[in-house]
């Protein structure tokens, strides 16, 4: 696990960067068994078409560039691409958008990804505290974190008991428990995510400065979760 993740990280550092693009971040997560979508990085249009076929339409495309950290602002995330024809068009468009946004953008490739079923959104973050080192943050996505600041923290590494308490700590927990008549969310999957992120950060302590899994879709009980987007920043 560690070796695989380190390979990605060292590659990034070698290229003089401290910020991983989504694809790289997800490689690191994957190395620790975190659930990421079946995505592939296409360097050429042909590759993109091939991957889309393998994944099955509709697909999403996200352009990977170290210079473009806010992909939505740059309009380099294109969703729900239904046919090879559409993919070809969008391939042009996505590159054009990237050029417009940052003419100097180095393009590492285009991530071809399956369209995901929407789930309840959670966020898992990692920060480094001057006193206690790495801390894990957990909360529900969107307004819950941004407006209501409804989040909870734990110091890395955490135990399973810590993970379960984190989930129940937040005020919006009833949303995960299924307060409005929905099925409860897959709490075990969240516990698993938290524990694996904790392990990853604990192992890669010396490298990782910050990390964000945002959003993660959590599905109904027994149906797991998937990391939709991720960001890792390395120590300088």
């Amino acid at each position: 696990m560690k070796e695989e993740a380190l390979k990605v990280i060292e590659e990034v550092l070698k290229s003089g960067r401290t910020s991983l693009v989504e694809y790289e971040a997800k490689q690191v997560l994957k190395a620790y068994g975190l659930p990421v979508p079946e995505e592939k990085l296409a360097k050429t249009l042909d590759e993109a078409l091939k991957y889309a076929e393998e994944i099955g339409y509709p697909v999403a495309m996200k352009l990977m560039s170290p210079q473009i950290l806010h992909k939505s602002d740059a309009k380099v995330v294109l969703l729900n691409i239904k046919t090879p024809e559409e993919l070809k068009e969008k391939w042009e468009l996505i590159h054009e958008n990237a050029r417009k946004y940052r003419p100097d953008a180095e393009i590492l490739g285009v991530l071809v990804a399956p369209m995901l079923k929407v789930g309840r959104e959670i966020i898992i973050g990692v920060t480094e505290d001057p006193q206690f080192g790495h801390a894990l943050m957990f909360g529900l996505g969107g307004i819950f974190v941004e407006v209501l600041k409804d989040v909870t923290f734990r110091i890395v590494p955490i135990t399973e008991r810590d993970a379960r308490k984190m989930i129940r700590d937040i005020k919006s927990y009833p949303i995960l428990a299924g307060a409005r008549g929905e099925e409860p969310a897959d709490i075990d999957a969240i516990v698993n995510l938290l524990l694996k992120v904790s392990e990853l950060v604990n192992d890669l302590d010396d490298y990782i400065k910050e990390m964000d899994l945002n959003p993660v879709f959590v599905y109904e009980k027994g149906k797991g979760a998937v990391v939709v987007d991720a960001r890792i920043i390395l120590k300088g």
Binding site: D129, Q131, F153, D162
Partner: protein, 459 residues
């Protein structure tokens, strides 16, 4: 590791002991005169006799072995004094003298140097810039503040002044401590090591920490995790707000760190977090009682209002009001007047005598739905009541039932309640004056019961 030499040394040298009442060395030596477990030697470069006791020019001149030195000499003599202590074979140093790490970088270097000297001789330093150490169980008051009341709480304060303030406050309020440590700049010994030591002592039922900032958060957590498996640790952290945290960090020189993270670290280590000084004290005082197996509280009272206020505070702490068994309700109805409320909170009304307190407490403690009991008494309004009969009734019931359920007193009539409080506390039942304090105590018992696994948490 044993810090016995800090709390029950065989011989103490007060270096800088003085005959001048305006000097700290005067107070420190005076306060140590009652020390029971060993001898106390004054060391003074000039005076032959200090406060009627033969003094020595140097610690090395003392004919006996000395394991603890309290150092109150002017700053320029500290370094030499530490060397002397080392040569003498002293084990622990309480360094009261100030002007080191708290004044800046130069001071930090100096205190680091002192620690190096001490370690060279295998000595440990508490301080510098501290008020000292007390152990009320052997009358060791190696501080320049008044004697704390004897009790069961080991209290470590990062602020000497606040620590002293709390001693004066608790003397007034009748709250006791087993030990008090003013930890000062933590140049050498820090919270973690004391916590580890105190986790294994007999006479300390709970450890209370007032923290402004830590030096090594990770090490603190590691030791706290072990300590809280044995003994409750309660923390009051200054700097909860952003502005407070900024002030705390500039004050202690420790790195800021957000309170959210501190709180996470505390929770994760099994530490119980207090919000205020009274919270901390109320929580720590609870641990003369056994741990509850659940969160259901029964309240008994001789006036409705205080019962309701207490129910409110219990709710605020996330605890529950017990639903009494039909049998209990019938039992209460059989002897309480018709105006009494026989549901929880049980309002025995103002006419309740000691016998009513006894019977009610007994029935409530025997109820399988009750995990904890809070016994309230407002002014005994009816003439002819003794000031202690209510408390005595509760104590009698607890002794008879003796089924390991925790009981807390809440006697809310200022000085009128003092005799009753004494009766309760003598029986190991902590007695509070404010509903929020009793609720904090109940909460702390529940939290520690959870951490120990006595109380199953809902998944």
């Amino acid at each position: 590791m044993t810090f016995d030499y800090f709390f029950k040394p065989k011989a103490i040298a007060v270096i800088g002991a003085s005959n001048d009442p305006l000097k700290l060395g005067y107070e420190v030596f005076k306060n140590l005169k009652d020390y029971k477990d060993g001898k106390v030697y004054p060391v003074n470069v000039k005076d032959e006799v200090v406060q009627g006791v033969k003094a020595y020019k140097n610690v090395k001149d003392i004919p006996d072995e000395v394991d603890l030195a309290v150092v109150v000499v002017p700053k320029r003599f500290v370094k030499g004094t530490i060397e002397d202590c080392g040569e003498k074979g002293v084990k622990g140093i309480i360094l009261i003298t100030a002007g080191f790490g708290e004044v800046g970088e130069e001071g930090k270097r100096e205190e680091h140097e002192l620690v190096e000297i001490a370690h060279k001789y295998g000595m440990r330093i508490v301080g510098p810039n501290c008020v000292g150490i007390m152990n009320t169980h052997n009358a060791m008051n190696a501080t320049f503040v008044t004697n704390a009341k004897k009790g069961d709480i080991a209290f470590i304060s990062q602020s000497g002044a606040l620590g002293a303030g709390i001693i004066y406050k608790t003397v007034k309020e009748g709250i006791g401590f087993s030990k008090f440590v003013s930890i000062g700049n933590m140049a050498d010994v820090d919270f973690a090591e004391f916590m580890e030591y105190l986790a294994d002592t007999e006479e300390d039922k709970a450890i209370a920490l007032y923290i402004e900032g830590l030096k090594d958060g990770r090490a603190f957590m590691e030791i706290a995790k072990r300590a809280t498996k044995k003994k409750p640790v309660i923390v009051l952290k200054a700097g909860k707000s952003e502005s407070g945290a900024r002030a705390a960090s500039s004050h202690t020189g420790s790195l800021a760190g957000s309170y959210k993270i501190y709180e996470a670290a505390f929770k994760q280590s099994g530490i119980i977090v207090a919000d205020t000084i009274d919270d901390m004290l109320s929580m720590a005082r609870a641990f003369t009682q056994p741990l509850p197996e659940g969160t259901r509280v029964a309240i008994m009272t001789n006036a409705g209002g205080p019962g309701v206020l207490t129910a409110d505070e219990i709710d605020k702490r996330g605890l529950k009001l017990a639903n009494l068994e039909e049998e209990t309700i019938e039992g209460l109805r059989s002897f309480l007047p018709p105006m009494a409320a026989v549901k929880n909170p049980v309002d025995m009304i103002a006419s309740a005598r000691g016998e009513d307190y006894y019977k009610t407490a007994k029935l409530l403690l025997e109820d399988p739905n009750v995990d904890m009991l809070i016994s309230i008494c407002v002014v005994p309004t009816f003439a002819g009541m003794t000031p202690t009969e209510h408390a005595e009734g509760v104590v009698r019931a607890v002794k008879e039932v003796n089924n390991g359920k925790p009981v807390l007193g809440l006697f809310m009539a200022g000085y009128v309640s003092e005799p009753a409080k004494e009766v309760l506390e003598k029986a190991g039942i902590p007695s509070y004056e404010r509903p929020e304090d009793a609720a904090a105590a109940a909460y702390a018992l529940v939290e520690f019961a959870k951490a120990k696994g006595v109380l199953k948490e809902e998944e």
